[in-house]
């Protein structure tokens, strides 16, 4: 990312800088930069070997690729409240949440490169990242990550812990039946779940207004007697504040909440998407939330050039290390293609 030449507007202090520690604010920034750096690396790697003609099945990272640039505030703001004992179920666009939740970058990159060292030994791919260490998972079927999150929350509740589950969808997915069923069941059983809707204005090429009969999914929370909140401005601290309330509520045993964040899809739906349908394209770069937040923190005296450079360099180092690890890792053995369809007695250890 690049810092815009004209200073962008400072982030609205919703959730209140006064309530949030400087270190936390820097952490939020750091998480966003790390997630963005990862996506930029994926963008680079994905396209690097698909030229001149774009062939989706070619290259070291083949297949569909849904990157989350622009949506970092959601993941950073929510996951700042979680430990790796909490669960997160993400979507087809999962990287930012995985990173914010602490999924191992090397294993994640290796999975995206389809390597035996990957989270799923190369079987899953970028839409199917499963990390037992952080209770992270995602699904390529929209809204269908919600129901399993209920079960994780249910198990946590049973065990008498205060661990919670966070379930993520896009605004397009909020019109899928699984959304409704999950909210009702979670509310009914007071499950410790925080439901997140990432409203990036688009479901592939379909604008929100052409998919959703209400301006805010927060309005839908009332249909389940749960608190609902919409964050309008893709501001990480506002997300942080709302998520803090929802997470606290869940941990206290008071049940689920719904948070919709109006965020931004900075790039195409997937790589290769020409976005001809998208009328808002021109002003998109100017809405990038990371420079905006960086500016806010600089103004607050929390960041300076050196700190920013350090954070970026550290992110780049971690990401490049992960990419290198992935590239150097062995490919899965085709002779082993049939393993893992069923649970193996040895615990699945290769």
């Amino acid at each position: 990312m690049t810092v815009p030449t004209a200073p962008p507007p400072a982030e609205a202090p919703d959730g209140g800088p006064e309530k949030i520690e400087g270190e936390t604010r820097i952490d939020l920034y750091r998480t966003m930069v790390l997630a963005r750096t990862f996506e930029e690396a994926m963008l680079r790697e994905y396209h690097s070997d698909k030229r001149p003609g774009f062939d989706i099945g070619k290259g070291l990272v083949p297949g569909e690729m849904h990157l989350a640039a622009g949506q970092e505030p959601v993941a950073a703001g929510v996951c700042a409240h979680l430990s790796t004992g909490d669960a997160v179920t993400a979507t087809h666009r999962p990287h930012h949440f995985a990173i914010a939740h602490g999924v191992d970058l090397r294993k994640m990159a290796a999975e995206i490169f389809g390597r035996e060292t990957g989270l799923g030994r190369g079987r899953g791919g970028h839409m199917h990242l499963f990390d037992p260490a952080t209770h992270f998972s995602c699904s390529g079927i929209i809204a269908e990550g919600y129901p399993p999150a209920l079960g994780q929350a249910f198990a946590f509740q049973r065990k008498g812990t205060d661990r919670i589950a966070v379930a993520v969808t896009g605004e397009g997915a909020a019109n899928q039946g699984a959304f409704h069923e999950s909210l009702n069941l979670a509310a009914l059983w007071k499950l410790p779940v925080v439901f997140i809707v990432e409203d990036n204005d688009w479901g592939i090429s379909v604008p929100r207004a052409e998919s959703t009969s209400v301006p805010s999914n927060a309005a839908r929370a009332a249909a389940y007697d749960m608190p609902g909140e919409r964050i309008e401005d893709n501001a990480v601290e506002a997300v942080y504040a709302a998520a803090g309330r929802a997470v606290a509520r869940a941990r206290a045993g008071d049940g689920p909440s719904l948070i919709e964040v109006h965020t931004l899809r900075l790039w195409g739906h997937f790589e290769g998407d020409a976005q001809a349908y998208r009328k808002d394209l021109e002003d998109v770069p100017g809405r990038d939330p990371i420079p905006t937040y960086e500016y806010t923190l600089r103004e607050a005296g929390l960041l300076d050039d050196a700190a920013v450079q350090q954070i970026r360099a550290s992110a780049a180092e971690k990401v490049e290390d992960a990419v290198t690890f992935a590239k150097e890792s062995p490919e899965p053995d085709p002779a082993q293609a049939l393993r893992y369809a069923f649970a193996e007695p040895d615990g699945g250890a290769a």
């Binding site: 699904s139 079927i141 209920l150 079960g151 249910f154 039946g177 699984a178 893992y340 699945g348």
Partner: protein, 340 residues
């Protein structure tokens, strides 16, 4: 088998519950979830008595939200519980199949074996009582076609209990399909084989091994679930006519005991498949292919497939019995194959 101190005469439904009870006793991570599984005890008796014994925290009525509560089972299983989740009728799979086949069944593979989903999905199957096109199907072929889930379908009390224990203890997902007609319900016509002596002690029946329900030399009948009863009835009748029928009860579709199929056909050279699921693209074709994969010359006559002939299950009794694999059609098929 005669009753001893160590066995009791149970219906298949009671034996199934017995199997669940034993596992719930020994492992408190086992719970039972579904519609009307609590106070009602399961529409087909699959959970009768469990609520009284284990209470509402382990035997749980759900809203009519199959996607949500099956998904809940998956998430709970991922976190180490062993949920048994009931889909009231298999016919309802269409509202929740994504959780079943894209999640429950694939997580193990997609995670390279790093995540396990030790879950049992129980579901009632089958027709024969005029419940119409949306409540009478078997559909095991649909589940067995899709990878990552074992599929069992017991025909009798002994197997119902033992397969249930195996299913619960399995570290991966098992779909447990109980035919309403084998449950031994008081309010439904039943075959004598729906009640039998069952050991009181817990035991397992391994998943993936067929059972020779009747030894014979003239014709092999490969079948599963309620059709085993019909096939045995017909076999007994035909014994008098010198047609010596071997009946193979598959017990599970996944894994499929192909070796048992081939061994029997190697002996008899004649094959009838009886299947209450739809004819095409299902169990009957797969059984045949298990033979032709190895050696088509084992088949000394055309194969007869007695299944539902690719129409929705009709409501009117006479129509329904015309499409179900009942005694008359099974008998005619065996006679034809034996004579060919």
């Amino acid at each position: 088998m005669t009753a001893t101190a160590d066995t009791h005469r149970l219906t298949t439904a009671k034996a199934m519950v017995d199997g669940i009870t034993a596992e719930m006793d020994r492992d408190e991570s086992v719970i039972y979830l579904g519609e009307d599984v609590g106070a009602y005890g399961g529409i087909f008796g699959s959970s009768t008595g469990l609520l009284d014994r284990f209470g509402a925290t382990r035997v749980i009525d759900t809203p009519i939200s199959e996607t949500a509560f099956i998904g809940l089972g998956i998430g709970a299983a991922v976190e180490g519980m062993r949920p048994i989740v009931e889909l009231m009728f298999v016919d309802f799979f269409g509202v929740c199949m994504d959780q079943i086949y894209n999640h429950m069944a694939k997580i193990s593979y997609e995670s390279g074996g790093n995540v396990k989903v030790p879950m049992v999905l129980t579901t009632a199957v089958g027709g024969g009582y005029s419940d119409g096109a949306q409540h009478s199907q078997c559909l095991w072929g649909t589940f067995a076609h899709l990878p990552g889930m074992k599929v069992v379908a017991p025909s009798n009390p002994y197997d119902a209990k033992g397969l249930m224990a195996s299913a619960i203890r399995d570290d991966g997902p098992v779909v447990y399909m109980f035919h309403k007609g084998v449950m031994g319900l008081v309010w439904m016509a039943k075959n004598q084989r729906a009640i039998d002596e069952v050991p009181d002690e817990p035991y397992t029946v391994p998943i993936g091994q067929a059972r020779v329900a009747r030894t014979g030399s003239s014709v092999t009948v490969v079948t599963v679930s309620l059709s085993v009863h019909h096939a045995l009835d017909v076999a007994e009748k035909l014994a008098g006519d010198g047609i010596d029928v071997e009946v193979l009860d598959l017990r599970s579709l996944v894994p499929l005991d192909r070796a048992a199929i081939v061994a029997s056909v190697r002996k008899t050279g004649r094959l009838v498949v009886v299947d209450e699921d739809y004819l095409s693209y299902g169990l009957s074709g797969e059984v045949v292919a298990s033979v032709t994969d190895v050696d088509p010359s084992l088949l000394r006559a055309p194969v007869a497939r007695v299944a539902v002939p690719d129409v929705p299950i009709p409501y009117a009794h006479a129509l329904e019995y015309a499409v179900l694999p009942r005694h008359d059609r099974i008998e005619a098929a065996i006679r034809a194959v034996a004579a060919a």
